[in-house]
Point group: C2
Chain length 369, copies 2
Amino acid sequence: MNKVGIIGYGITPFTREDLKIESILLKSAKTLFQNNPNIDRNDIDAVLVSTNNNSKYLSPILSEMTGIQPKIAHSIESLCNSGTNSIVSAYSYIASGLADMVLVTGAERYDSPGQILQWDNSRGEFKHPIFWASIFTKSYKREYSISDKQLALVSVKNHKQAKENPNALSDKTYSIQDVINSKRLTDDLRLLDCSRPCTGSASIILASEEMIKKITDMPVWITGIGQKTTSAGFTKNASFDSMESTRLAGQAALKMANKHTEDIDVVEIHDAFSVCEPMALESLGFSNNGHGMNIIKEAYETNNFKINPRGGLIGSGHPLGATGIAQTIEITQQLQSKADQRQVDDVQVGLVHNISAAATSSTVLVLEK
Amino acid sequence: MNKVGIIGYGITPFTREDLKIESILLKSAKTLFQNNPNIDRNDIDAVLVSTNNNSKYLSPILSEMTGIQPKIAHSIESLCNSGTNSIVSAYSYIASGLADMVLVTGAERYDSPGQILQWDNSRGEFKHPIFWASIFTKSYKREYSISDKQLALVSVKNHKQAKENPNALSDKTYSIQDVINSKRLTDDLRLLDCSRPCTGSASIILASEEMIKKITDMPVWITGIGQKTTSAGFTKNASFDSMESTRLAGQAALKMANKHTEDIDVVEIHDAFSVCEPMALESLGFSNNGHGMNIIKEAYETNNFKINPRGGLIGSGHPLGATGIAQTIEITQQLQSKADQRQVDDVQVGLVHNISAAATSSTVLVLEK
């Protein structure tokens, strides 16, 4: 199997702008080519578009706008983890030898149709993600005697960290009290516990080892991949206070990379809602069940940016198809020591965690220098 | 690179039924598992859904309905060649070692949103495919002095062949005069020159060589893959009387398989409209430019079923996301001598040709016993 690495990226600010999906896609792809003038578009064998947008044929459209005539060109959708699904697909095209260089661009509008879970009749009338998040939160708090105030720290930390991310949707910081006092959406969920849908774009280029040698001496290697789908409807989750698909994907990714949780220096966690951050950290094995908030608290108090350095989904915003790619770009920047004010010390190994639909699906990636 | 083969398939009749996309997907997947009771669903690492439908998260939904908990699960869209794009993606997951067995299911409703080419402003108000097909037809007829009557043979042959395909939308046969007398849609296009959108489903299972050994002694190997996207808007096509993306994809596929056109015993050609069949045969190198109708005529007169045995898109119907998979199933059946009344003699090598959007994209696959 060919080794696969990341050789370039482009990301633009996440906003609430009302733009056409084609324009959103182009934004980060253009930035990518500006950042990497040594990448020859003729070397790009595949263009994959990650989105929940209903427009068709977006990969050929993006290809034409950027002057690429790829062999492989298609869109990929898997709701909120479309981005990492696209990265894994790009990986497979390269590792199999069908492609040497692949552009992956994720883009979404603030009004993405991927936000409403039409298919899940087990939800009754409650098709918006806040309903599963509310059930998760209630269940997690009860099981581990965690308070709303404790969970609010996730939002406080991630908004604080997003302040150092020039592409984040949020530029405000909040106190625990601000989170608690923010608009109550359900019994267990406040507005500031939720990531916000937004308009955003993120592009990344992956390449084979041979191609990488010609282009950069600072690649970031994808050394671990784990994915799992346990069901399509969240009421079939084995538990509402842990993430089974994350546990399985995490194990697989660490095994493939031959790493343990202690080896991981920085993580991007899919904090669609506050409760997701400790739950995911626990399911990934970074702490025992019910103790995820301890490591979040330590990270916050020591100001170490190790958990969701770019501000997570809560601070950065959540443009569905772009999120997994933006997470991967953050870990790439951390590994290349290019994360400016967000930089974690001495990063050798990083991890990306990206879920869909109440963690019925998870992708976990391990990235290394 | 691991060898990749086809070990099972399921296909159900193409109709005009008004069903939910989830039900359509399930139809052929269910048939696949009925046809292949020895396939263990626990061995399926990936489930890829090929469709232009706007519903999200269809791969986890199909997985849940069929009792699969895959690692990899996402949808793939590239308009009319979504099906072969999904097969190539499945190939790459297996060849790269990320998966050992992949289910690919394509499904579409008769009212697919992939039929209207919203993005292509170069078409002005003419966003329906009949407009590019009309321009292609006029251009092809003028360039090579071909008459409407000559082209009508494509529809006559394919309807005749569809009569022997139990899953085809059409069960009628037509004379040249019937085609010429059918409703005139544009100056150069009659109703019977066009494939019809329909509701349809087709599923296929691909596996690694190691896995195949445990399951079947009649696999069909994918030995050649070629893909190319030249643009997103058909007015940028280099010519309106040949298919440049098909020429490049065909060359690449034959090269990878180490085969020449003379080695190919049976072909599935993307005859979205009559003119596409001779044009594609020429661009693939089966005849000189302008002479494609000669081999079509010979096939018809000798009743040899070598070109579009299942009746092509014109005879079988065109459920966008399912078409490329249905084509691949037909060639698989031909290679396994299971094509009943459609069986071509002594088939050793077959070829699938699947295009999108006025042949701005093409996929070509070479399949062997």
